[in-house]
Symmetry: C3
Subunit: 287 residues, 3 copies
Amino acid sequence: MTSKILIQLDIDSQPSSFDSVVAIDAGVEHLLPYGGVKPESVTSLVHGAMFTRGGKELKNTAIFVGGSDVGKAEAVLAACRSAFFGPIRVSLMLDANGCNTTAAAAVVAAARHAPLATAKAVVLGGTGPVGRRVAQLMAADGAEVILASRSRERASVACRQLNTQPFDYPIKPGQSGSTSETAALLQDQGIVIACGAAGAQLIDKATISDLSSLKVAIDLNAVPPAGIEGISVTDKAQPIGHGIGYGAIGVGGLKMKTHRAAIGSLFTSNDKVLDAAEIYAIAKAIG
Amino acid sequence: MTSKILIQLDIDSQPSSFDSVVAIDAGVEHLLPYGGVKPESVTSLVHGAMFTRGGKELKNTAIFVGGSDVGKAEAVLAACRSAFFGPIRVSLMLDANGCNTTAAAAVVAAARHAPLATAKAVVLGGTGPVGRRVAQLMAADGAEVILASRSRERASVACRQLNTQPFDYPIKPGQSGSTSETAALLQDQGIVIACGAAGAQLIDKATISDLSSLKVAIDLNAVPPAGIEGISVTDKAQPIGHGIGYGAIGVGGLKMKTHRAAIGSLFTSNDKVLDAAEIYAIAKAIG
Amino acid sequence: MTSKILIQLDIDSQPSSFDSVVAIDAGVEHLLPYGGVKPESVTSLVHGAMFTRGGKELKNTAIFVGGSDVGKAEAVLAACRSAFFGPIRVSLMLDANGCNTTAAAAVVAAARHAPLATAKAVVLGGTGPVGRRVAQLMAADGAEVILASRSRERASVACRQLNTQPFDYPIKPGQSGSTSETAALLQDQGIVIACGAAGAQLIDKATISDLSSLKVAIDLNAVPPAGIEGISVTDKAQPIGHGIGYGAIGVGGLKMKTHRAAIGSLFTSNDKVLDAAEIYAIAKAIG
């Protein structure tokens, strides 16, 4: 039996121990972690994965790309794809800073309470890697999405970038620079997901409590104070105002299951590329 | 079955292969070695250990802190403890430069020939990490201990530091700057343990042979010339003068067993901190 | 059962994933990869291998030296040997840049079609690590060998170095600076092996096709254009001119088997040193 090997390419100088432990718990038998990985140093590492196991055994080697900076990790993922020769390739997964598993778990949790095909959703702190992915995934399943930022300009830039990408859905920009702007933005929205910086409050208690259209509110900030005042980090389908609330740890169980299942699926064929949409599909299957 | 993962945090740029092999031989199933670890880079590595396995499974992840500089490793250990949130923590062990396992094995070997509760002991080269630990452990079990150095001032500083620490036992400073000073210091002592620098002779053959009160002499220096002239590095309970002698390799078997048993015990609960006293207790149980 | 541990010392900053995967597939249970290894940092890593397992168990730890620069890797191998104390040692293997397994597989493939004891052979691009090894191995088995380079001076230097080494066989220098020089050099040769730089054509199609003495031609260059025009990288015993041809991937299967078998043999005793001649012996046994 050819053992399952995961090559963990991390852009940080110390490879993430979180990603290492999850990989092992997902059934990886031999982990090869690399730190300080740059796009220009990837080719020989990828060739080492491609040229050591032949034919049907090739699927037992896979590559995970991680680290704290999603943009840099995306450049490493692109470099991995460029190193392949036609069908001689290995499966790839990107989950830098947990961006894909977190976004996927949040959207699946939201969809339990508001069917996406008919939902109106706002993503606060939406210009970061998690916010962009949350907006994309909801839009791809039919929701009307507002991607909001304190700066309308940054929100507009993010929307233009997202709407030219393969997910060509209309995601609209919104401004949440003040309490009153945020309250106006939330009017008639059923889904509110806060993806802002750690420790930054984006919505106060009065605003979220008064929102009569609210079906589900998810706060992905794990560091006090809460991004949505009134949601605790461990909340999992707890009442909040007129809807249901989740905190970061409240969606963490699904995030972890999704992460493990995604790692496991890497080894079912040698040609997977698991990024936002693919990891979301895995999270949906878990539910 | 959740596999046993040890995160090996080493302050040296290349993690110790010695510590890696011992960990594997102690039953660690997946080792995650990190080199060049600094206190400020520890938090995310520790959080990765804390937040990947829940409840009863958390005890299957543990952290080992090592490297050639004990002081720097102690700072890393402190940083690990600071990263914990209440009961969400993993077990920790410090054995930088083998300081704890070496000191523990030496004291257990000494106690075979001179009950510590009534012993008079002198630790030569006592101001280093191993010497300090040897002095502490013997004093904690009731011995009267002189911690000696070529410099009385450095010996006094070490004693003041040790006597304000949790082990608040009277350890007295001594000066061993010359052969005659050393001989005077040894008068009436039953236990003599040499913990000096590699390749430095601390006691000559005449002095150790003439010491009529000697019960046991242990030389922890493994590099010729011997720290105690007349003791060979492989001596294990061999006659020396009026007592019994051990060399570094002579206590090495117990040191290795202690190291392996300590690693093994990390995985019995998620809240252990194995430093000098805890590792000494493990060595005593082995005998 | 003491598990098989391989310490992978790589002179490159990122240890070779190729060497890691092959080691795992050869039965290594725990791999300890180190990057950026220098001769001066080797001693403590080797001592960690020597002093952790006693007696009969020592053979279950071994060291592999690799990386892209063969000369630097040879200095690391020498430093490993210097760190041993008499019989307290572990087995060693060098295969930096695949030099030994590639050379061994090429010579074994050549010998299928032209018995070395009576062969006349030319090695083009012969001054590099693979070319030198190919020349040595063929000469050691009785072939008359010309080691050729575009520069006669560099070819002469290489031959002087090889002929003073343990393999004291007459390897003669040759110059292949132009098409006509190369054609002249090949006259009456039965074995032609091209070991030049990636992507550099050393022999054109007319020259190799017209060579009536040709028995076997091997091109170890894997990057287009081919080193010997008319040989495809995947050719394995395909007709070329008056003889038989192999490309780099065509000898790759034997190279991989040799690499795995060599790793496996490290763990049969604690005193092996697997360099060119020893790895060639393993390749011959595989055939």
